[in-house]
Amino acid sequence: MNESILTLVTFLPTIGAVLLMFMPRNDRMLRAVALIVSLVTFGFSLYLPIQFQHGVNGFQFQTDKVWISLANIHYHMGADGISMWLVLLTTFLVPLGVLVSWKSIHDRVKEFFVLLLLLETAMIGVFLALDLFLFYVYWEATLIPMALLIGMYGHERRVYAAVKFFLYTMVASVFMLAAIIYLWAAATPHSFDYATLRQLIAQGNISTGALQWLFLGFFIAFAVKVPLFPLHTWLPDAHVEAPTAGSVLLAGVLLKMGTYGLLRFNVGMFPAQSQHNAAWINTLAIIGIIYGALVALVQPNLKKLIAYSSVSHLGFVVLGIFTFTQAGTDGAVYQMLNHGVSTGALFMLAGMLYERKHTYEFKEFGGLATPMPVYATFFLIAVLSSVGLPLMNGFVGEFLVLSGAFQYKALYGILGASGVIWGACYLLWMYQKVFYGEIHHDENKTLPDIDRREQISLWPVAVMALVMGIISPYWMKSIDPAVSGTISQASQARVAPAATNLSAGGQK
Amino acid sequence: MLHQILFIIFGLICVAGAVNLLAQRHPINSALSLVVVMASLAMIYLLLGAEFVAAVQVIVYAGAIMVLFVFVIMLLNAGAEERTTGSIIALALGVPGVIALGALVGWTLISHNQQLGGVSVGPTNFGKTQNIAHLLFKDFLLPFEITSVLILIAIMGAVVLGRRES
């Protein structure tokens, strides 16, 4: 079971997708099967944290089989504290995605759920793959279902958004492919194995110049996905046009693939280069935090605002990762999970509103707290979680990230922390625009509050937002060792500059 | 010495025929120029001692292929060619390209003159049909047989494409 659980979790959705493909076009049944499949997947994925040996660094549940012997490509999957929780996040969000799509998708239902489930497989695979080739396969495999989901089920400018999303990511990830192949060729015997390549680089067999290019090759693929300023402009478009489930998974999981990649591959494999490049990366991350927030502040469109808020939030994650401090990186990983939950929730909520109003423009809303009190409450919880209110999940991550950033370089911590203010600004502004004030549109007075299905889909995220804010050590006990294992080389590489940084931020 | 003179004569006829092919505007004239080229090439083959090839050259090329050409020219009642300027590129890029190409090959050959040495036509069995037959029906048996497929599709093609509208 320990050997095959990861395979099972990864490919259950695919099996479900195949099953759906051959089912008659009975929409109700299709939805039900999709929901059941995703729930079963979630159920199986719960096996991971239960059986996980906490406090141990290294990959567990590993399975390693030769896939393509000629090129020494392996089907090597494994989970550590970081990837396990990201998998859980994925399996947790997909059923919700199915639920929120229950009514909003009524055309080409079968294709929708097939794509959704295929997407799930690919996303889980990305987090679990320990063979770089396999990783790339999963990585690219996420692209198609997502682009199709946006392009087929999105709103007015869906085609533009889908193509933009696809091209942005595609162009960026080919550089990663080149880098991966380069590493493969550099290894003796040729290998794609994560641990092997990591060791290869650690041994210093590759010249610094080449390493820098390799680092950049990986970095650009991940930076686009994150998305890091200034590579972020696909995100608002993709989000605005995507169907709700698409947005939820895009924000909830796909963006995490970028940060996960940065942590696992850039920091994990290229510690010295990470150190070397940290200054400008962190600068970009901080620009992203502030810039994203400021632009979010002036958006006239609910979804676009949330999208830009993602730019800002993911900036925290990148900042955390590239501090190479335990706290910062722990926080970054935690923030990945948090962002998945809270922004996922926000997108679900936005979708529900869209189902009722068929628009995301703020000027069509206002005063909705009166007709929709329950909805307003859930929205508030999501907003607060996103704002980073203590005792909600967002705070834990943000605090740790900023604390780490501050330790790394005081200025980073200070600039990053200003994001706390901006976050409050745009999120509260958004909340006010939607829920407060008088109702200006008569049809809004009779908007139905969310129904039971919608409540069922929202409760899990609301509860998670709280639970993760209160008992974070439950997660941290597995994240902590994994992070320390991943950043150990990077933080060692930093010993020399660390001293100067500390004194700069401290006594003078 | 005689060889050289003969070569120069027939070589010049060849080149003249080729030039005429280019110069003539009516395809039938061009075709006839080509026949001239081929015939004089056959002579050059003889100069080289390749009797069999020379014979086949006259029979197949000048005899069969060129007849086919003339036949088609007649069939389609092709007139003198129009002076269209459809391709500037052919003039602007193609001609210099070809000149360069010819010059390069020619330069190579001249520079290799010493290495290559001369051609002598002595009492060898070089052009003997018997020797060629040996080669053709033993070593080159497979290509020879496979040629049948080639001819078969050529026939099929001609039939398919040339068939009258039904």
Binding site: A141, L148, A178 | F140
Partner: protein, 512 residues
């Protein structure tokens, strides 16, 4: 004395089988009513291609059991080694799928001549023979067989101006290029005294080859480059593909191309000493760039795929340029994966084109996802594969090509790889355009598409499965490609191979 043993016949068994079936087709054709559908002939020729694949299996068996089988036969004319066997399997398979796709097409276009199938079969004879031939005479004849067959097929819709134009362009330029190739052969003969590829290789191996050999190689590159449609000899491709009947394009963009690449591998690696590396490098870069950028603005699907085929030829040339064993096997594998996806794509195009090939504009594909889900789905798979999305043949092929390039451990190859990956990213745009059309736009063609016939469905499904198969479990195929590559590089070059291995074991010294 009977020097021709059974063994010898086994060496040309697929060709014999195909010829036999071709003749059978021609014999039966007159027996059918002139206006009747030629479907039965199609089935017969399909059987022929399958039989040819069976014959290849016999060859494989022979190769596995008898070590001497891999030596040249027919007085040094053919050599059925792993390299040839790979293509002997691939090319009849391509023909089979094209025939499957043609069954419906011919009926739709109201073409009732059995020669079509005959030409395909005979053309296949030429292509298969090209891959096993090791004597330039035979290579030339086989090349001409395959070429002439495709010239004719390209003009098969002879009442249509575009089709005949396609044929005449292909024919004239093809012959033109053939003349260059031939001139090259002549000079090579002059330089080495032989037309036997292996003998040429032997002659060129020691010492520096004469200048004549360089000139000869150059002219042969021109001719072969034309056949594989690599820049700058690619110019004919878009016009010819656009005008030719769709299933024929499916064939000629894959079959003769695969065969031509096989010849190119054999010939160029026989002349390794002449250092054509930079030429191939430039040609690869040009092909990829011209192909992909040219395709960006096409509105005709066939023409777009034509440009794409130029680009794909460029990817294969990248593998050539790597000049190592991985490169050869990558090129071999790529031809197979490209065949799978491209045949499939053109099969869909040929179905959807309808009578008179009316619907070949990208806009006509709008809403196809709803109207014909299977067609759209399979076409999506092919397009994704052409983009190079993982888990498809196209990705693995591309990956393997780039692997070869980077394994060459030279900066030039790293740059070529970068050009390649950037190009493949650019390329994704125009393939994606078609997917977008199918799934994200509303239908514009008023006419409902005719449902695909079972034979067409079968063709599509086979191609799709092959595409996925090669992308997910390529192990066997890759192994075969590697064996083929090993056979292609005789042991005479062993020292340099060892050198490469040595270099590979010390990457640090190379990449610095």
């Amino acid at each position: 004395m009977n020097p021709i043993s059974i063994d010898q016949y086994v060496r040309i068994l697929p060709e014999l089988v195909l010829t036999a079936f071709g003749i059978a087709v021609m014999m039966i054709d007159p027996l059918l009513k002139p206006s009747a559908s030629r479907r039965p002939l199609g089935y017969l020729s399909l059987l022929g291609t399958i039989a040819a694949m069976g014959a290849t299996v016999v060859q494989m068996h022979a190769l596995a059991t008898d070590p001497s089988f891999g030596t040249p036969g027919w007085f040094g004319m053919v050599r059925v080694d792993n390299f040839a066997v790979f293509f002997h399997m691939l090319i009849p398979a391509i023909s089979a799928i094209c025939i499957l796709a043609s069954l419906e097409y011919l009926d739709t276009q109201k073409i009732n001549t059995g020669e079509y199938y005959g030409l395909i079969l005979f053309g296949t004879v030429g292509m298969t023979l090209m891959t096993s031939a090791v004597e330039l005479v035979l290579i030339f004849i086989a090349l001409e067989i395959s070429s002439i067959a495709t010239y004719i097929l390209a003009g098969y819709r002879r009442r249509t101006a575009s089709s005949t134009e396609s044929a005449i362009k292909y024919f004239l330029l093809g012959s033109f290029a053939t003349a260059f190739f031939l001139y090259g052969v002549a000079l090579m003969y002059g330089a080495t005294g032989s037309t036997d590829v292996l003998a040429i290789q032997r002659a060129l191996a020691p010492g520096t080859p004469s200048l004549l050999a360089y000139v000869a190689t150059a002219l042969m590159i021109v001719g072969l480059g034309f056949k594989v449609a690599s820049a700058p000899f690619h110019v004919w491709t878009p016009d010819v593909y656009e005008g030719a009947p769709a299933p024929v394009v499916a064939l000629m963009s894959t079959g003769p191309k695969a065969a031509a690449f096989a010849v190119m591998l054999r010939v160029l690696f026989a002349t390794t000493g002449t250092g054509w590396f930079a030429l191939i490098w430039i040609s690869a870069a040009l092909s990829m760039t011209i192909g992909n950028f040219g395709a960006l603005i096409q509105n005709n699907v066939k023409r777009m795929l034509a440009y794409s085929s130029i680009a794909h030829a460029g990817y294969i040339l990248v593998a050539f340029a790597a000049q190592n064993d991985i490169g050869i096997s990558a090129a071999i594998f790529y031809t197979a994966s490209y065949a799978a996806m491209n045949v499939g794509a053109f099969a869909v195009v040929s179905h959807f084109a309808s009578g008179g090939e009316r619907y070949v504009s990208i806009d006509d594909y709008a809403g196809l996802g709803k109207r014909a889900p299977l067609l759209a789905f399979t076409l999506t798979i092919f397009l994704l594969s052409l983009i190079g999305i993982p888990a498809t043949a196209g990705f693995l092929g591309k990956y393997y090509v780039f692997t070869a390039a980077i394994s060459a451990h030279s900066n030039a190859m790293v740059w070529l790889t970068i050009i390649g990956v950037v190009n493949s990213a650019v390329a994704s745009y125009y393939y994606l355009r078609l997917i977008v059309m199918m799934y994200m736009r509303e239908q514009t063609v008023a006419e409902p598409p005719t449902p695909a016939t079972p034979s067409m469905r079968l063709a599509l499904v086979i191609a799709a499965i092959a595409t996925i198969w090669l992308g997910v479990i390529p192990g066997r195929t890759l192994d075969r490609a590697t064996q083929g590559a090993a056979d292609l590089r005789p042991k005479t070059t062993a020292p340099s191979a060892d050198l490469k291995a040595q270099q590979a074991s010390q990457p640090a010294t190379l990449v610095k």
